[in-house]
Symmetry: C2
Subunit: 414 residues, 2 copies
């Protein structure tokens, strides 16, 4: 008897018919001699509708009350899904996050799970019931209902899998798994059979939206194997697991696992900054204080006691950043801020590059050969990111995808 945690996103429980498909999938899994814990998100666009109600009341809701409101979405899913099971003759029971024993810290709207008390879930599993847990929500030390932030249901699923020592954690969505790049843009994109936690983290952080980053961190920490797959097909998806396991299982490791991209970036450059200590610290601490999230940063070597600093922020923060920068540079005479919102970040991710020095060079060469100018570069142990002109994005992805041997063969009918 294995224990499986199955998580379904909002689009999988958007209406009664989809709930029936989900329930059938779960029953089939249970009948194959498994104990099942199901985690669900709010149905379809329920959360958007709740936000709309808030907008009509205030632009600045107290976060405690926002969490109280948002948590209703998942309660609607769990109770309706439990009813669906009942109508199919299957024993199932729904639990809110607090009822499931999920305890978080004191922050609202992006609370962190502190502890799980699995007593109630275990006793219900022992009674042969399918246990349906509301994703995205927890109880804080004050007894308030809080939410875990964007993609929080993934986190609920992975954390429960860790606490219950589940044999498997399946994350269902409307995509088939993790791809070498976005198949909506590059037709030759290939679904990966395996990907390591670290690669998945880098991909999530650089544009791929399959899984929430924090849930991958938790999965890595507690060695929870995740199977990312589609609700609406029977196909195998992608297993997200440890590097060691992948190395053991696979004959050959890919140099690069995926190409990600992010158009939601604005590039700022401050030119002619004085080359004195503390300038960069001043700029970035001011931005941080105003909750501007800075992504890539590069600083050129000083020439004639002058420096240029470039960095990117996401488009939502660009306005805030600009206002703040105008203030900051007042004290640096002759300095100037220029920005460019027509940029895209392209990243190449792969654990293979740990032991292979040529990946960066190869990336630059591929782009150079196609006449694509690289505006910024940043690297991590398993990722290289370049900022390019937005208009070059698709071509860049395509060439890198092909150049690193990720493309599947496309049948030609000619």
């Amino acid at each position: 008897m294995a224990l499986v945690v199955m998580k379904f996103g909002g689009s999988s429980v958007a209406d009664a018919n989809k709930m029936k498909i989900v329930a059938s999938k779960i029953i089939a899994k249970k009948n194959a001699s498994n104990k099942i814990v199901v985690v669900v998100s709010a149905p379809g666009n329920t959360t958007d509708n709740l936000f709309e109600s808030v907008d009509k009341v205030t632009s600045n809701p107290p976060l405690r009350e926002l969490d109280m409101l948002l948590a209703t979405g998942e309660i609607i899913s769990i109770s309706l899904l439990a009813m669906t099971f009942s109508s199919m003759g299957q024993k199932a029971i729904s639990l809110t996050g607090p009822q499931a024993g999920i305890f978080a810290d004191s922050s609202y709207t992006r609370a962190r799970i502190k502890k799980i008390n699995p007593k109630k879930i275990k006793s219900l599993l022992a009674k042969n019931s399918i246990v349906i847990v509301a994703g995205f929500q927890a109880l804080n030390p004050k007894g308030d209902i809080t939410t875990l932030g964007r993609g929080g249901s993934d986190l609920t699923a992975v954390a429960l899998a860790a606490e219950l020592k589940a044999d498997l954690c399946e994350i269902y969505s409307d995509v088939e798994g993790v791809y070498t790049t976005d198949p909506r843009i590059i037709k030759t994109a290939r679904k990966l059979d395996y990907i390591s936690y670290d690669e998945m983290l880098e991909m999530a952080g650089s544009g791929a939206q399959v899984l929430q980053s924090r849930s991958i961190e938790v999965a890595k920490k507690f060695k929870v194997e995740i199977h990312s797959r589609s609700t609406f097909s029977q196909n195998q998806g992608t297993i997200i697991t440890s590097e060691e396991k992948i190395r053991r299982k696979k004959m050959e490791t890919l140099l690069v696992s995926g190409i990600t991209f992010d158009k939601n970036q604005v590039k700022f450059t401050i030119v002619d900054l004085p080359d004195i200590p503390g300038v960069a610290a001043k700029i970035f601490s001011k931005l941080a204080k105003n909750s501007v999230n800075v992504d890539m940063i590069i600083q050129s070597a000083a020439v004639n006691k002058k420096n240029d600093i470039s960095f990117t922020v996401c488009k939502q923060d660009a306005k805030k950043a600009q206002l703040e920068l105008d203030n900051i540079i007042e004290e640096f005479k002759n300095s100037q801020v220029v920005y460019d919102e027509h940029v895209a970040k392209i990243s190449v991710v792969g654990i293979g590059m740990k032991s292979n020095a040529g990946v960066a060079a190869k990336m630059f060469e591929i782009l150079y050969k196609k006449g694509i100018n690289i505006e910024m570069i940043s690297t991590s142990e398993i990722k290289i990111s370049c900022i390019v002109d937005e208009r070059d994005m698709t071509k860049a992805i395509e060439e890198l995808h092909k150049g690193f041997g990720l493309a599947k063969k496309v049948e030609k009918f000619s």
Copy 2:
């Protein structure tokens, strides 16, 4: 400093604008040196929408899950209302029924409140916060969320007022108070300044839908004075209080306080039943076993060892009752069931009739004079009900309303 519990129904919190009206009313009350506990129902037609989602899934939902789902409606109200207060610069905090310490028995969909632990509410009131409590919901001994049945938010308000020893319990709705009869039908209907718990109970039980019966029972038991009034006006409504207080306050007691009616009745008559012991017991215990709620019952004196029994049930139960009766009378040869769904129940309610024997006679005479036939009669200490032909209903109410001196003067422009 007085403590006031204010309850608002679903139509009062149906949208952001109405919430602002409600919030302004509450703030005005608070500024007049009061501590405030607010109880709200689910907004507008939220509950209907939730039932619609259920219908798409199953016609027979597990009641635990139904309660889990329905409770989300009030959570939406309380959190949005708390945000409304925040946007108006007022300190307020929302609590679900369980968070407010409302504990119920183990039954679902019509749980009974067993205990209230007011610790959290009291500590929030001490911090000068407006406390907003979700009506209609409680926590059961298993830790499940349950609901208190139709009109359960009234019950939440009255029970909290009792537990907190509130100085006043205001129940706001879209009507101005309790009327001598339905003003939508009888133009001369008059709003009552006072009504006793017992009269209100009889009126609630015989068609008037201002307040839920159980909440009136609790108010009577714990001597909670209720002010039933309109959200959308400043007028005084109706005070529901003890008979003694009314007698003390008023110069003159009305013989009759109100005329109620109920069209939702079907009259059954079983003719030619054998006049032997146990026949009535057999019939009504079978009906009770099938959850058919019987209202009025009359049995004629036996003639020739034969009896007739008539009774009324609400329209929703009529089909069930008929099927059951067909089974029952098979063993009584020559007996026959006839039914009439075109009937209405008219009731005259008033504590004045306790000490005045002529009320029944007067009622029958008023109806007789207008040629209205009385098909059934039943009486309680402060109520007399008659079943009449549906077509005579409005005329009967009008004549009784006038005959007992309840009508207000109607201005004539001629």
